[in-house]
Symmetry: C2
DNA sequence: TTGAACTTCCAAAATATACTGAAAGTATAA
DNA sequence: TTATACTTTCAGTATATTTTGGAAGTTCAA
């Protein structure tokens, strides 16, 4: 497979993969494009290479910066900004994990905790509270594992875990 | 909080949470409804309680059965089918994890493996192949951890992991 | 202070996704 | 075999999300 073809397929695949996980296709594609570009790209470059509008490119670049997946680069003598993806995939995974954990998982854990205080003592209420408690426990454990696995040394964790459990 | 209110909030929250992770809102809500219902429900019950159409209820119930999250129940003397959610949240988590791993993660790991064979030896190609290799390694490790953690004894794994890493 | 080069915003349009409801299909009992 | 009770399908509709492109905003050099 040629480099150009491989990059292209990667951008498509990353976009499709992202959208299965609730990340919009363009954002994932912009990210993929920057991942495979050796040099930082300008907004214009992104627009051209992905055939998307200025507004769309801008919005997704900002979102990626917000997620710490992309850095703004200023070149001497150039007014416009360039964008460069973080290439260390472990760092990328860590940032994505921590952000989604904070934005989505933690609020759910909190909510499930509140449900455990539902009033009532009849069988149906008890069953509901048990379900909420189990789910709270489960999500709490997942949260804890993710917290640990992204704290300081991701690589060590995944290596250790996959070895330990062999 | 009253039982009825708590159930309702749970259904809404589960729907919203699901859609953040690429699962459609109705499917997540049907699942939540069945999770909080002590008795199996009929298609009609689901339609009424969630205010959705017959087609929608049917489609999502089938999808949930397909994901092994819901069982069809036949009651003696009743012609219609009833539906009951698997209430063991560890089992639920295991099924969801394994299904998504199989449908989404594994194909991506395979694809990244293929990218490593991109032809070319110049700096840009090398950098690309390195990136693909890193991503392949990362997703492969995640895959391995998920495989282990859902194999036979989930509870043991998460307990062990969260203790080990304290 | 102006104008050029660039970024950001946002209402409207396009697209993708989900939902509806009626009709067709299927199984069972009489 | 027919009527009935239920399930499934699917074309059309509705809703939600994403994208566009022009206008407004910003920055900076002259």
């Amino acid at each position: 497979m040629e480099l150009h073809e491989a990059k292209d397929k990667f951008i498509q695949a990353w976009g499709a993969f992202g959208s299965q996980w609730g990340i919009n296709r363009s954002m994932a594609q912009v990210h993929a494009l920057l991942l495979v570009s050796p040099e930082p790209l300008s907004t214009e470059d992104v627009m051209e290479q992905l055939n998307i509008s200025r507004g769309n490119a801008n919005m997704n670049l900002r979102a990626l910066i917000d997620w710490h997946l992309v850095d703004r680069i200023l070149k001497a003598g150039e007014r416009r900004e360039f964008f460069q993806a973080e290439k260390d995939v472990w760092k990328v995974a860590t940032h994505i994990t921590r952000e989604r954990k904070k934005r989505e998982l933690e609020p759910m854990v909190r909510f499930l905790g509140e449900l455990k205080q539902t009033s009532g003592t009849n069988a149906e209420t008890k069953a509901f509270k048990q379900m909420a408690a189990d789910l709270h426990d489960l999500t709490g454990r997942i949260d804890a594992v993710l917290e640990r696995s992204t704290r300081s040394d991701v690589q060590w964790f995944l290596k250790a875990a996959s070895t330990l459990l062999r």
